[in-house]
């Protein structure tokens, strides 16, 4: 014992203190290790490895109101999904539930009405990234290739591709077209993205989507709405299986 203890006497070391201390360390260790595992499981991609939609019966169409409908014609239910290509929480949702949702779409359990919005344009380096990404989404949807649409949608929200809010750069139309090609989109879709042919209609569609989002009662993106009810998709990791 150090000489300090001579001047600063402490309670005798006792067996009970060691037992209590050991127990406390054990409990804290279990809590921390268990917590980290639980948290990692809760936020990891569900159905990881499934990838995007692959069933050839799944159809994609750009509807008159600018919504992209992805699903089998006889899907059991339909949900509305609102997201902005710049929104990091939307990327988290896509990362966590995207593959699970793709499988549900393949299985005909659900069809998704994608409302791709552009209210985060102001946080993009180019000032109109979201709008151009909405346009790119519409270009791919218009080709009717559901597999490519699903893959392109996932690519838009992957950490490798999604531009950072207030970041120093985003993607040009040419780069968006390349992401679409890599996702399996046709030359026609890539051409449509590169020329920006859909940008003006995309702006109008995104504005319509913003109003639909406000009307749904959801407070922000991502928002999942089923039968007029907002689903708490970010906090409930089981929302896809519960549809």
């Amino acid at each position: 014992m150090s000489s300090k203890n001579k001047y600063n006497p402490q309670p005798e070391s006792s067996r009970s203190t060691y037992i209590l201390g050991g127990l406390a360390v054990l409990v804290i260790a279990v809590l921390v290790i268990g917590g980290v595992i639980w948290q990692s499981n809760r936020s990891k991609p569900r159905n990881d490895g499934y990838g995007g939609v692959q069933n050839s019966e799944v159809q994609v169409a750009l509807q008159a109101d600018g919504v992209v409908l992805l699903g089998k014609p006889d899907a059991a239910t339909t949900v509305d999904l609102f997201e902005d290509p710049m929104c990091p929480y939307c990327a988290e949702l896509e990362n966590k539930n995207g593959q699970e949702l793709a499988q549900s779409i393949d299985d005909g359990k659900v069809a998704v009405r994608y409302h791709v919005l552009n209210f985060l344009d102001r946080l993009s380096a180019s000032g109109d990234y979201s709008t151009r990404a909405v346009a790119a989404s519409e270009c791919v949807a218009e080709t009717g290739d559901a597999v490519a649409y699903s893959a392109f949608h996932a690519a838009l929200f992957s950490p490798a591709n999604q531009p950072k809010e207030n970041g120093s750069s985003d993607h040009t139309n040419e780069e968006l077209a390349q992401i679409a090609r890599d996702a399996g989109a046709s030359d026609a879709a890539a051409q449509c993205i590169t020329t920006g042919a859909s940008v003006e209609q995309a702006r109008a569609h995104a504005e319509a989507g913003r109003q639909a989002l406000a009307a749904s009662g959801a407070t922000g993106t991502p928002a999942v709405v089923k039968d007029g009810t907002v689903i708490d998709a970010l906090s409930n990791e089981n929302w896809v299986s519960q549809l």
Partner: protein, 162 residues
């Protein structure tokens, strides 16, 4: 006598800081991942592991301080962690990024200015002061650890020493 009281207050305050900060991060894993990524310091492969581990590390520090076990060691680790957190805020500020520090929940891009970063750093320096106090005076009443423990009573020996 007053040193023990300050140590007790410092211990419980720092415990509360870690417990609240950790719990808020645990409650919203998506937000925590976004907050960690927003610093643009870690490679993408490390963002999720750090976001999933850091909150529970903070809670462990908070619990150890709360029960008063290994206070000097816990305070030392707390001080190191606070220095790292201050360092990354300075890094974000100097790189001109505009993000929410995600210190107590929150996170991601935000409209912040130098004054916000300065306030966050000052706050963390305050927490650091608590940790440093506990490194120097780790003993306080109502602590479990033998070398973290003391009583309010003034013993004759201490009177002699002083």
């Amino acid at each position: 006598m007053w040193i023990k009281v300050v140590s007790l207050l410092a211990r419980l305050s720092l415990a509360a800081v870690w417990l609240v900060s950790g719990a808020l991060k645990v409650a919203d894993p998506a937000q925590t991942i976004i907050a960690v990524r927003a610093y643009q310091l870690l490679p993408e492969d490390l963002v999720r592991p750090v976001a999933n581990t850091l909150p529970f590390f903070e809670i462990a520090l908070g619990l150890l301080l709360l029960i008063g076990l290994a206070v000097r060691a816990t305070a030392s680790v707390s001080a190191v962690l606070l220095l790292v957190l201050i360092g990354v805020i300075v890094s974000v500020w100097s790189r001109g990024l505009s993000i929410d520090c995600g210190c107590f929940g929150g996170g991601g891009a935000a409209d912040v200015n130098g004054w916000d970063y300065a306030r966050e750093i000052l706050r963390d320096v305050g927490f650091l002061a608590l940790a440093v106090w506990l490194i120097v005076f780790p003993r306080s009443p109502f602590a479990l650890g033998l070398r973290s423990r003391t009583t309010f009573s003034v013993t004759p020996q201490q009177t002699v020493a002083e």
